[in-house]
Amino acid sequence: MRRLYFFFAIALLACSHKTADQQLIDAADPAASWMATLQLTGEKWLDNSVPSSFVRATIGAAQKAFDKTSGTIAQSQARKELRDEIKRELETARAAAGDLQQAIEKNDRRTATGAVRRFAEASAALQRLQQQKNRE
């Protein structure tokens, strides 16, 4: 029986120091999902498939999720570089959301296209973090 406890202790230890980073990446998962949602929403707006009111409502909901994630970053004990990287992606997404908001009010398709591209990059970056974590 003793070996079992030994094995169990090692397993706990192994994942505990990584837990902070892992937890932060998992916590950022909804934000990545919302970035992908805004990307799709922007694309569909450009295809005239969705009304502006829907885009506005989706941006609102996304911003709430971004705020929640930035709150989690503030309290997280994960590695500094990791926290900064996620914060950077969040800022990109937040700015892009603001631009998309203006773009749909002024029907400015060029800015909207730019915003959609930035959503794509930000969500791709966070998804890469997720894949790296899964491979470790």
């Binding site: 998962d29 999902s33 992908a36 990307q39 498939s49 009304p51 009111s53 829907f54 409502a57 909901a61």
Partner: protein, 405 residues
């Protein structure tokens, strides 16, 4: 001829009652998070619900009594009290979730804030119940429900990889996070095997006056009706799996699911999703509100029946009026419709034993059913169902804590 008409109506009823806010929420989450891996959960739930719906219809046809009526009379008020209280809470929560679904659909179409539509949705359902007879209700809600076929059309149009869909139809271990996988699987089952379904179905059978000769019709209605509703739900899983999963979009909010039809139907996709959701939730809200009144009326022995004018059964009318109003308060206060729906589906899964067990006991009562009581197959199925619901109930609480993130 009358039987053929009843068969058609019965099937339509099951379509109307089957696909609702619970299915939309759980199927889009399952597809978005695990692509086609959870189709088996929907298939399993459908088989179980077909058995349970067939039994409740057969019981009503043979004894002329609906389930709440029979359970109270047979096991006594003390025994019935606990399931009755639980069922009432579930009824209120499901009404709230359905009104949440309707309000979200109206929010999509108009862009106005969601809580604004809580009372209007409840009043719309109330007006429909107040003025219609049972059969009028059933035909129209189900007919409207056919619009949800757009999910099937979208699933076919997207041409998902068949081998992957088939592999998903067999139970499998999760690739992603296990807790979330089983959390969604349990909520899928909770959404399909909704407790009100049997109580409503048996009351409906009494309303339209089924008798022993309707047992074959009842079986056909259960199989085709539930099967039909299940096809639409599986289509929703496939569409979410094909459109949302590759983009890494999780469904934490209904807004994230609202675009899933736009890939197949660029111009109509958005409107189709809104109308489908609105109509499906409206049909379900009508049925759940009615089911609440049936359960109360049969428990206390009041005159009941939607065919009576409101003046003739004031208490029956009062029950669905109050439950619709109380249900709408949840949405008015600002509960998020998706979280409210998932919570409701979870509690439904957790209380299934309380609801299924009394029914299965009844189905074995030779005195009441004589030769129509459960055969060996139904009994084995019944025993498996009770065990499954117990496992679900036990497993759902820890899962909600771990998997619910």
């Amino acid at each position: 001829m009358k039987k053929a008409l009843t068969l058609a109506l019965g099937i339509l009823t099951s379509v109307g009652g089957f696909f609702d806010v619970g299915n939309i929420a759980t199927c889009t989450q399952a597809g978005a998070r695990f692509r086609f891996q959870l189709i088996w959960a929907m298939l399993l739930a459908t088989i179980v619900v077909i058995f349970l719906v067939e039994m409740s219809g057969r019981f009503a046809a043979v004894t002329g009594k609906a389930l709440p009526d029979a359970i109270r009379e047979h096991f006594g008020f003390g025994f019935w009290l606990v399931p009755f209280v639980i069922l009432t809470l579930i009824h209120i929560l499901v009404i709230a979730a359905e009104i949440g679904g309707m309000s979200f659909a109206l929010h999509l179409v108009t862009g106005l804030p969601l809580p604004l539509f809580a009372l209007p949705s409840a009043i719309l359902v109330w007006l429909f119940l107040w003025r219609s007879t049972f059969s009028a209700i059933e035909n129209s809600t189900s007919f409207l429900g056919l619009i949800t076929l757009c999910f099937v059309a979208a699933a076919v149009w997207l041409r998902p990889p068949i081998h992957e869909v088939l592999r998903g139809s067999l139970p499998s271990m999760p690739s992603g996070s296990a807790a979330n996988y089983w959390y969604i699987a349990v909520s899928i089952v909770g959404a399909v095997i909704a407790p009100f379904l049997f109580y409503f179905f048996s009351s409906g059978a009494v309303e339209v006056g089924w008798d022993r000769s309707y047992i074959p019709v009842n079986r056909a209605v259960a199989v085709i009706g539930m099967g039909f509703g299940s096809v639409i739900s599986i289509a929703a899983i496939i569409v979410a799996g094909a459109v949302l999963a590759p983009r890494g979009i999780r469904v934490d909010d209904f807004h994230q699911a609202a675009l899933m039809l736009t890939q197949a139907f660029p111009h109509w996709g958005f409107a189709l999703f809104a109308v489908s959701m609105g109509v499906a939730c409206f049909g379900a809200a009508v049925e759940v509100a009615l089911s609440t009144s049936y359960t109360f009326a049969q428990t206390f022995g009041w005159n009941w029946g939607e065919d009576l004018d409101p003046a003739e059964d004031a208490r029956f009318t009062l029950v669905y009026t109050v439950s619709l109003f109380v249900g709408s308060l949840f949405v008015l206060v600002g509960f998020d419709p998706l979280k409210l729906t998932l919570l409701t589906m979870f509690i439904s899964a957790a209380v299934l034993p309380f609801v299924a067990a009394p029914m299965l006991l009844l189905m074995n009562d030779r005195m009441l059913l004589r030769d129509a009581s459960n055969g060996i197959i139904s009994n084995i199925a019944a025993a498996l169902i009770v065990v499954m619901t117990l496992v679900l109930a036990v497993v759902s609480i820890p899962l909600a804590v771990m998997g619910g993130s």
